[in-house]
Amino acid sequence: MKRLLFLSILSLLSSLAQAQDQNSRISGGLQSNGNFFIADDKRVGPGIPQYDYQKFGAESWLNLNYSNWGFDLGLRFDLFNNSNLLNPTNSYTDQGIGRWFVRKNVGKLELEGGYIYDQIGSGIIYRAYEERALMIDNALLGVKVGYALNENWKIKGFTGRQKQQFSLYNTVIRGANLEGFIKPDSMKNFTLAPGIGVIGRTYSAETVDQIVNTISTYTPQDSTGAQYNTYAATLYNTMTAGRFIWFVEGAVKSFDVINDPNVLTAKGERGKIENRKGYSVYSSLAYSQKGLGVTLELKRTQNFSFRQTPFNIGVQGPINFLPPMAKQNTYRLTTRFAPATQEIDEQAIQIDVNYKVNKKLSLGFNFSDIQFPDGTELYREITPEFTWKQKRKWQLIGGVQFLKYNIFVYQGKDDYVNAITPFAEYLYKFSSRKSIRIEAQYLNTKEEFGSWVNAVVEVGMAPHWLIAVSDMYKLKHKDTEGLSPEKVKYDELHFPTVQLTYTNKANRIGLAWVKQVEGINCAGGICRYEPAFSGVRLQVSSSF
């Protein structure tokens, strides 16, 4: 059936392409990763099939979009061969149509069918999106109908089931959203962009059976209710007033059977499913003027896990997306301890300030603090930094990250990591085409594996070549007495990378020899553990 569908759509696209007129548009893109796994007993743990015997893994996404006669058609072929994306310690192989869709505007009506990516507000109650690095692709296979009430107001409704690799979850989802834009004639530089949305989720009979069977093993003290349907609603608005932009969103969720990994059961075990109501409030206030930008973000979440089943954890089966509340760091060592968004309980604040002192000097400051409501510290980061630009010849960035990280909550080990990480980056332009970039960080901590240093040298020869050499090195503990073998296992080990990238217009080919330490990989506050990597990576991307 799948093959028939694929052939039908392919032939349709083909015939459409042949019959294309001046209004038609065809576009697409390819992203391919090839991983050659090289066993390394010192850096990579045992039992990973790619290192033991498979030796090669690949992922590829090829998508094609065609527009004509008011229609938008899309098709994407996905391939995973011995891939470690789905489960970093295991292997996944499958291929097929990862996405197709048909979209058509009929007057004020917008119709869409197929695999649909969409979200309501900032995504707190619903977000269907793709994050390839974490293998998140929860497109809704269904139908969406939108209607433009006027040029500023639009209403939409949708229903379907979300995808799980090449199959579908059994949960049925339906939702509606009203969004608008208000610009009072009497007020200059003042606009409102309000929205309201609702989502309903119906568990399948199989899921409810599984929930009931699980709860029936609980003591009466731990027993909890359950239901097929859960509803969530959100209200949001973006207000722009002069130099201020204020976004606020508040969402509530009816009783939902969710997994709380931290709660203690009557039997003294940690973690159980519970039927709870939830809410989440997120707000950001930004102020900008020439040379100064300030952003303040606040968030409070309680019991807002919203998934395909309560047994989905980590990156599995998300229906919504809770905005992250930590600085989006870029350097290797400043990103080592990243906080995953806590769905059950979290309160967070983040302040980001950028100030341009003069043409050469800019200052930046970030403070983010994430806690459980009882005051248990989860994550605190303070990062002052500066940027010095010497005309267009060279640029120096420097700063230091002060970090407190609850590694027990985020990774289930030890207690807290307290780290101080100074960093620097120097960019020198020999000419408009040739440049060299050097960056270095020193992560100073006694916790986890101890202190690290990392350095990168990157030579750019625009527009085609980029060569980068880096090394992350684990400093030896001064005193290893009383330390566990796990804690000192990386002492004096190097994790080098040599990377060559060739770019020609919209085509990019990258080849890298990589030794990468284990750690947490995050995107948008959604994180997962990834084991160490040793091997060669080939990456090809192209758009047309």
Partner: protein, 276 residues
């Protein structure tokens, strides 16, 4: 306003009839009775190994998790260790063990055992019952009783500090009247030492379920909270294991009992290894 009404109407359609039939969730019974046997024994008690073998057989019948045994070396003179060059390596007597047995009942001979601290109409002299041949019947009787009380023990052991953190959760299924008490003890299994067995000194006798200490009050800690159905009462304890004790053979035994003096029945007991 019109738009909001339109949205509300649209939403109402999507969520029409959101009230659904209530799901029936079977309720788990957590109060299944586990029976506690507090055996009074001694290294010089020649008949005690025979009593211990009776208990081992009973554990085979009912399961070790259902029939919990604590062996208390507090029998007058019988529990004194052998002295001299070939004497006992260990002295299993403890001050708290003595207080514990004093609270159960008088010593009338060995081998003796208290079966859930039940004062049998047949053996009215003491809750420590002699002879061992009477124990199976008393145990069977106790397993017929069910007080509907869930009791759970969860241990967290730090091998570096040898600190043992104990969580005891009391989970009644229905209301249990009375001023109940909680006693928590620590035992060590598989200790090899001298024992008089039927007149023969066995050098490598394996002592089972040896009471090492009483963590709560020997008479039990008062449970001040009401034992009402659905309530969860949590008690925590900390204990540092002495270096001489083998942590992997240590267990925590907790039990809820009536305070006496007339009724000292052990309503429920639970046992958990110090190390999983």
């Amino acid at each position: 306003m019109k738009k909001l009404l339109l949205f509300s109407g649209f939403t109402a359609l999507l969520f029409l009839g959101c009230k659904e039939k209530e799901l029936i969730i079977p309720e788990l019974s957590v109060g299944k009775r586990r029976v506690l046997i507090e055996e009074m024994t001694g290294v010089k008690c020649t008949a005690c190994p025979g009593g211990a073998r009776v208990l081992t057989n009973l554990q085979s019948t009912y399961g070790k998790e259902n029939l919990i045994v604590v062996s208390i070396h507090a029998a007058p003179s019988f529990s004194d260790p052998y002295t001299g060059p070939d004497g006992s390596k260990y002295d299993f007597r403890t001050a708290n063990g003595k207080l514990l047995v004093d609270n159960i009942g008088p010593f009338i001979g060995v081998p003796c055992a208290s079966i859930a601290r039940f004062l049998s109409p047949t053996f009215t002299l003491s809750r420590f019952v002699v002879p061992s041949s009477s124990w199976p019947g008393l145990v069977a009787n106790e397993f017929k009783k069910d007080y509907g009380l869930g009791l759970f023990v969860k241990n967290e052991y730090n091998p570096t500090t040898r600190q043992l953190d104990i969580l005891v959760n009391i989970a009644p299924e229905s209301t249990i009247a009375g001023n109940n008490k909680l006693t928590v003890v620590i035992t060590q299994d598989s200790i090899v030492d001298l024992q008089n067995d039927n007149g023969t000194l066995i050098k490598e006798y394996m002592h089972r379920h040896v009471l090492r200490d009483v963590i709560s009050q020997p008479t039990g800690n008062d449970i001040t909270e009401a034992l009402t159905g659905g309530a969860l009462i949590s008690k925590t304890f900390s204990y540092k294991l002495p270096i001489e004790w083998d942590a992997k053979h240590c267990s925590v035994v907790a039990f809820v009992h009536q305070p006496g003096p007339d009724d000292k029945i052990v309503l429920q007991a639970a046992e958990a290894h110090a190390i999983k």
